[in-house]
Subunit: 131 residues, 6 copies
């Protein structure tokens, strides 16, 4: 089996181009990332994923940089190399400074550590947290 | 083997009490959570973990509620029931509203989904992210 | 420490060759994948793993392509790059079409998302599921 | 912080009721699962998640029982107790027999094992898988 | 769907009883754990899993307590509550002291933390590790 | 966003150099690994992580090679490529033989498999493990 190839705008079907156009317009960028060029092999998933991302990542009760940092925190926890690179870049673009990145990684590291300490010591949930 | 029992203040050794006292003073609470009462079986890990948490969770480039929400995002991704309960409570206490919680979960969900789409489609990292 | 090197047929001990031969015969292939050439450093694990795989992956109540797609779904969830590549190829060989791959990834993505939503909202199991 | 409470139909806002109604109609069930009654705290996420699930889980190139078994395989890999219970039930309802369940678990187990063997032996991807 | 019920010795088929007998003889115990009583729903998986465990857990280059501690470390990392309980008990039985447990958890915690720091900082592998 | 660059000794600030010096002295090595050269972007995290690692990895109730093998087991389970390479090397240096490595991987593989079997069969914890 060959691995998939990215689908560039020039070769894309109309419904794929429509999504690419919306991504470029929304994010004010000249071309879409590889992520979208691979998802384009399944236009339905491409469209649904983009529309979900657009809805979820719009600033609301949480601002853009917080959302991107949370995205990065999850990606680091899961060890997804592509997502760490792409959402690291997105978080920087949204305003994450070096100091913010450093503190973010420190929290992510501690959370991953204490998650396992809680598991290993079989700590029962305090009644106060279940009221 | 019996599962461990929590170590209450009254039964704690002096070096454990010293950590409990510092937690209670720093967080302005009357008693420490189960997490600490179980870690107390290993006073060295108790002390190191608390001092690390204290250093990492102090507001800095990221404020307290952002740090607690990131902690919660990692705990949800890992499925640590204890940590979801305790850091959910801590995030609420630090100011996370219902709307912030809803958006946080939405981002955590999408990140976990797209991490796997990136894995499954074997998306190569865009050169722009590696400059 | 040097990383391990693959053990080719020509250099393999008799008990390793016997496993290689069985893999090649069973799968009707000319050479075994890197996975087996590395496991060959531990002939006991090589033999046990191959015999388990052979027993588990034989068509039964589930057919071959379904089993390979489930294997791929797990590998994508865990982010194992080698297994995504090898079981993606195996699933294709067993009959997974582009459309089946697209739908598989969509389900894997949604499951990873909703697993975390269920964690984060701390949803209790419905009594109907425990009857 | 109190943990969340499920939102029953009688107490639900109109936009939540509309989703509940569509779930009940689509799945021909009398009431929705706890998962939806908790997501209802965020009507936007409730609606988006349901519409995504509805689109993804409809039989297509993969039939309903295959999709539910993949969902279960992912949930078992992630250790999401709620999702294991709910999608185990859904897979049964869609036609998963005892024998199919047994083989599914065997594949999920082996995949989780060999994913780590591939990691631990640092097996490089065969050139044939990247052509 | 009902959740599965454990299969006790009195109700077990001959091939299941044969495995139960071998477990009891090998481990010098009077009854098998729930794990085996549930796997018994699939006698083939029961037999294969037991024979693999028996082969893998026998003392060799690593002694029994080291193997059980590694099993526990993995189970804690994955957050498998059943396995943490059962292999915690097994490790104790094999000789794990309170001090050994404490140090084990400390290592597991640090490894989970630094795994994410390495991910998040995108640290490239040192050439010395690939020689 | 550019990815980070390693910070070499010559370019390091005094507080970073102090940590590098302590690592080199403690481990009797001539230069520190990339892990530390990247963490150096956040001197506070560099210092805290090193001091924690130094405290945790010192031989105590568990010897050095056991601790490194547990570190490797966790890293393999999480699929952290950098940590598998670096702690694989460290375990070898501390005395892990080929046979020990083989048995370690076999245990890690089985644990990852049976963790999911326990999840999937929804095995309840035996009362004996909770006494």
């Amino acid at each position: 089996m060959a691995s998939l190839r990215p689908i560039d705008y020039a070769d894309a079907a109309p419904e794929v181009r429509a999504v690419y156009d919306d991504i470029k317009r929304t994010r004010r960028i000249e071309d879409v990332n590889n992520f979208w060029k691979y998802l384009a092999h399944d236009p339905l998933t491409l469209k649904r994923t983009w529309e979900s991302i657009k809805e979820v990542m719009v600033p609301g009760a949480l601002d853009a940089v917080t959302k991107e940092m949370v995205y990065l925190a999850v990606s680091v926890t899961n060890g997804c190399a592509y997502c760490i690179a792409s959402h690291g870049a997105a978080a920087r673009k949204a305003g994450m400074s070096d100091a913010m990145f450093g503190e973010l990684m420190a929290v992510v590291g501690m959370a991953n550590e204490t998650n396992r300490l809680a598991n290993g010591y079989r700590v029962p949930i305090d009644p106060a947290f279940d009221k």
